[in-house]
Every structure is written in structure tokens, then in C-alpha cells.
Symmetry: C3
């Protein structure tokens, strides 16, 4: 049993944060909200999100799992205007999700959850350093780095003038972002320097750009954990595997 | 003889309402305004429009016919800014239409009216039911239906909660729009349920979306007549043949 | 030695005015500012610009030459937001240009100036007539002419009602722009009528459209000189060769 009402924009933002990496996902329903964990087809990035019941105008659910094609869900949500709510209602017998937007009601066929790739085990990582910065700032730096390269190094230093840095080296040109400690919203200093694929960061940065603040947890040649909130009760986490740096 | 001044936007809207279905048309000029009737190449949709003289800032014409390539006319009109007027003047000797926009003057070659497909006879139809709703509302529903299917059923029921409905069934998902009688701007109840091609409705809905109110006249497996006004003195009518419903 | 700070928008506009015609250019640095002269690959159009030191927030340079790929420079400048300044600093030893935008710093590899096509000699031309008009007006007329033809005739007459004209004749339709003397911002009457390629005028007209006023100097079957300013201290000149008119 699942019935909920939520702002179309909130749901759209949450869905987009996932659909940039995975198409078909399994939502886990409980009394407390909706959760999801998924890996991208190439096993490089992991995404998990949690829509707490407080993110909804109305929320009622019994524990269960539903398989959803996010591309089609995003397509339906794109029909809602800014400020509109959508109504979600599970039709368990027919394996359908009814989505109401205004006087329109969509019937979305669900996917058998057993046909969807198994949920990944989220690894326990002890990431020694972190920085917190505005999402829009990170997005802009990622887009700038894309101009010169396919990869980017993220790192943390002891130098207060250069506390967090991002470096992209192309064949011809290069880019460096330096953020002094004073410009960061939060900082846990420590040794950190790892190389990442800009393709993945670019896919993630659309959602990241909407977050007031985003936390980046890093280590040396270690995965990057990106966590942020989108409005009240929507938590998104990405985990991105490092690439091997060739020097 | 034909000379007229009209708001570029009014003429552009009227031309777009037709050019989504037909490229080359024959305008019939009279003292009272400009008229047109045309069918699309596949004989599925018919469009007629009437620009009454009151739609013009200035209008003077003697009876006659001119053949126009609407794509080129629309292209010229796209150069006018919002709020600008265009001047139209027929050069009968050279078979040209002079179009003035500001200090620019275009000379558009006319098409021999005898080379244009004959005007259709508009069939006399006794459509038992009708609804009136805001144009923007219909446009939105058509765009929503396109997300799931190529065809759509439009119908009228006796149920006040579901007075006018639209149903699109795709291979996987489906959509239903229900409009209670209270939300309609006008209603003539009666038996009506017919299937239509969404391609055509989508082509028409761009112009429909600009109308404050649009009237849909329907029957059972019968054509759909759509009529609306765009501003003062511009009347547009579409007639769309039904498709056979396979169940 | 070269170090300068300039509004990103000013530099972007100046670079775009050139990059629509040439990709790789040689900037000449002096105490007074930055200069450039270049011809397009087909030798039809010439562009020269001058960024006087007063166009900069800060400017310090010793005489020299640097070779720049304008496509990559424009790409970097596109990352700056409206109202932001960029810092330019030459790293002579490594043949790099450092471009700072906010906390981002790009390192752009320079091109060996000797590998760039030699600067053209700007011909001395005695153009008998000129008109001055708003840049946006010329841009609009060029875009309108593109709807009907690939070429356009520009000319000046003695008739005050038709002082400056532009004519485009297509296979089917034609366009005429007539500007009465009273609508021009400046005029030097004289014999002038020449045919030009619309492709080139269209490439130039994006920058021209941003200028408050643009001066067109013309003759009979003679090149067209277009000169305008973009803000304080930015001067742009185009010289466009005429095409032979076939009648």
C-alpha cells in the first residue's frame, strides 16, 4: 500500500539526481519514506537517495518494493507546472503506479523488482578529509573543467590559501580551481588527492547545482562521497570510484 | 485590389494555425475580410479561417483570390517584433504581395490559385455534444497524451464528475484526463466517443493553446470540430476525421 | 610582460567579433592596449580591433606579440558570469596565458606567432559615401535579407526618402530596406552601390548588433568598411570585398 502527495518539483529534482546514472530502479517503501540505492551500468558510480515522509504533503505506505523506469517517470513529471503537486498511488494488483497531475491521471506500468539489478552494498569507507561548499560553485567548476579535459583531480591541502583544489589537465590547456579555507562552508583537513572521471561528475552536477551546500568526502586515491539535501527531507548521496592517475 | 494593415502577431498566429496542416493555400478576399478553407495532404484534417475586416487596422479589398506559400509568409512575419504592424499590398499585374514591416519591404511571389488544390466542401455535420474549455488546458492535455500514445479517445459522459474525458493508451502506460462539468466553460451533453490521431491534434494545439476558449463538438465515431477565436475578428475552425478504434 | 583585468563581457564581445571570421590570431601588445588585424581564410573579409588600455580595469604591457586560438579563449570566457572580471597574465617562459575567473584559473597554451598567417596590409581606400545607423537595425535587416537570398546590394542615393538602401533578390521573393535620411544617425552622400555576400555580413552582424551606432563606408563596386565601438575603448573594423553583380 502506497499513497502520497508531493510537490512535482521536489520529486522531479530527486528523480533527475538518479536518472542521470541509472534508468531502472527499485524503490523501497516504508512507513518513513522512500529509499533507493543503485549503481550505474559500468559500476563506477553509486547513488542512494532517501525521500523522508516529511518531504511529502501526504504520505502513507506499508513496506514494499516497486520497480520504476525513471525515464518514463521523469517524462510524466515534466508535464507538471511549477508549484503543482502530484499524487502517487500504487495499484498493487495490476502492478501500476497512478500519477495524478491536476485533472490528468497517468498509469505507469511497474517493472518486476526481481528483474532489476540487485541493490549494491554500500561500502564502509573511512574518508579522512572533507569540504563543504555551495552546490552551484561545484557545478560551475565541473563545467569549467570539462572545457579542458575528461578527468579531474580533487584534493585537500594544509595551505589555507589553497585548502580545496580541483585540477584538470588537457592535452593543450589546463584549469585549476583553488578555494581558500575562508570560502568553504565546512572543512575537515586531511590528506586527499584522487582522480575522477568528469563525465560522471558532470552527470551528477546538475542535481548538485541545486543544493545549498554539498559535502565532498575524500582520501588519497580513494572514492569520493558527495552528499547533499534538496529541500526538506530529500537526501542524496553519490559515491564515485577513483581513476588511476598516470604521470 | 487589396491593401491592409494588421498587427504582425495577429497575422502570425492566424497563419500558424493553418501552416501546421497545409503549405500552399488560396485566400479569398472580399469587402468583409479574408477567408480560407483547406485540407491537409492526407485528407484527415480540414482548416478554415476568417479574418474579418475588424481584425485589421486598415482593410480595403475587392473580391478576388490569391495563392500564398504559407511557409514563406510565416518566415517573413517572423521578422516583425512584438507590437509591430505589417502592411500588405497586392500587386495584381506582377502577381506579387508586398509586405512592409517597418522600413523593410518584402515582395512575395504569389502562386497561381488554379495550381492550388481545390477548396474542400465543408461537410454538414450534426454533432450531438460539445464542451468548451480553455485552449491552454486542451494543449496541455494533448502534450501529456503524446507522452504515452499516438492516438487519443475524446468523449462526453453523463457523469458530472467525468463530463469530458480524454484517454490515451500506449503499449505500456496510459493517461486519462477527466474534466468535471463544473470546470468546463460550456457543455451540451450527449453521446460522444471517438478516436483521433495525436499527430494532428498536436499540430493544431499550438494555435489552440493561444485561445481563451475552445469549443469541441463531438459524436460517436464522428469527426471532431474545434472552433476558437484568436483576438478580435479572427475565427479558426478545424475538422478532424476519426480513426477506427480497435479493441 | 602583460597583465590585465577586464570585464568578461567586454572581452567576450570583442573576441566574438573576430572569431566569427578567424580562428587563430596574433594579438599585438603595447603600452596603449591590444591590437589585432586578420583576414578570413577565403580572403574576402578583414577584421581589425583595438582594445585601448582604457577598456581595461587594469592594464600593463610591454610591446610584444602573442598567438591565440580564439575558439578556446571564447570557451573559457563563456564560464564567466555577467558582471565578472577576468584576469589575464602572460607566462612568457612557458608560452601560456593565465586566465583567472573568480577562483578558477585557466592556463591557455599560446600559438607561436610565426605559425599564424601574416597580418594583412589594410588597403587605403577612398570610400566616397557613408551612413551611420543603429547596429541593431543593420543586424535585423541582414537577418531579413537572409530569408530571401545569399547576396545583398547596399547603396546610397540622392533621394532623401531612400537615402540608404539594401536589396536582396532571391529566385522567388525579394526584399528591400529603405532608410530615409531623417532616420540615419549620420550621412555623407555620394555614389555607392555594391553587392556583398550575406554569409559574411551575417557573421559580422552578431557583433554589429551590440553597437549603438555603426558606420558603413561605401563606393561603387567597392569594398564595404564597417566600423563601430563596443563600450569604452573597444574599436572594431571590418572590411568586406564586393562580389560581382550579374544582371
Amino acid at each position: 500500500m502506497f499513497k502520497a502527495v508531493i510537490s512535482a518539483e521536489t520529486l522531479r529534482d530527486a528523480v533527475e539526481a538518479v536518472s542521470s546514472l541509472v534508468d531502472e530502479v527499485k524503490f523501497t517503501l516504508s512507513e518513513n519514506g522512500v529509499e533507493l540505492k543503485a549503481v550505474d551500468p559500468a559500476n563506477v558510480a553509486m547513488v542512494s537517495f532517501r525521500l523522508n515522509s516529511e518531504a511529502f504533503e501526504y504520505f502513507k505506505a506499508t513496506p514494499g518494493e516497486i520497480g520504476v523506469d525513471l525515464v518514463r517517470l521523469a517524462d510524466v513529471l515534466s508535464m507538471a507546472d511549477r508549484g503543482e503537486n502530484v499524487t502517487l498511488e500504487l495499484d498493487e494488483e495490476n502492478h501500476k503506479l497512478k500519477i495524478g497531475v491536476n485533472s490528468l491521471s497517468y498509469t505507469l506500468s511497474l517493472i518486476d523488482p526481481s528483474a532489476i539489478r540487485k541493490e549494491p552494498r554500500v561500502p564502509e569507507l573511512d574518508l579522512p578529509a572533507h569540504v563543504i561548499l555551495p552546490g552551484a560553485h561545484l557545478r560551475k567548476a565541473v563545467r569549467a573543467a570539462e572545457k579542458v579535459s575528461d578527468h579531474v583531480v580533487l584534493g585537500v591541502t594544509d595551505d589555507p590559501e589553497d585548502q580545496f583544489y580541483m585540477e584538470a589537465k588537457g592535452d593543450i590547456d589546463s584549469l585549476k580551481l583553488k578555494m581558500p579555507g575562508a570560502e568553504l562552508l565546512g572543512l575537515k583537513p586531511g590528506k586527499a588527492r584522487s582522480l575522477f572521471s568528469l563525465d560522471y561528475l558532470a552527470d551528477m552536477s546538475k542535481a548538485i547545482g541545486k543544493a545549498q551546500e554539498v559535502k565532498l568526502e575524500m582520501g588519497v586515491d580513494y572514492p569520493l562521497r558527495i552528499s547533499f539535501k534538496l529541500g526538506q527531507g530529500v537526501e542524496i548521496n553519490y559515491l564515485l570510484a577513483p581513476r588511476i592517475e598516470q604521470e
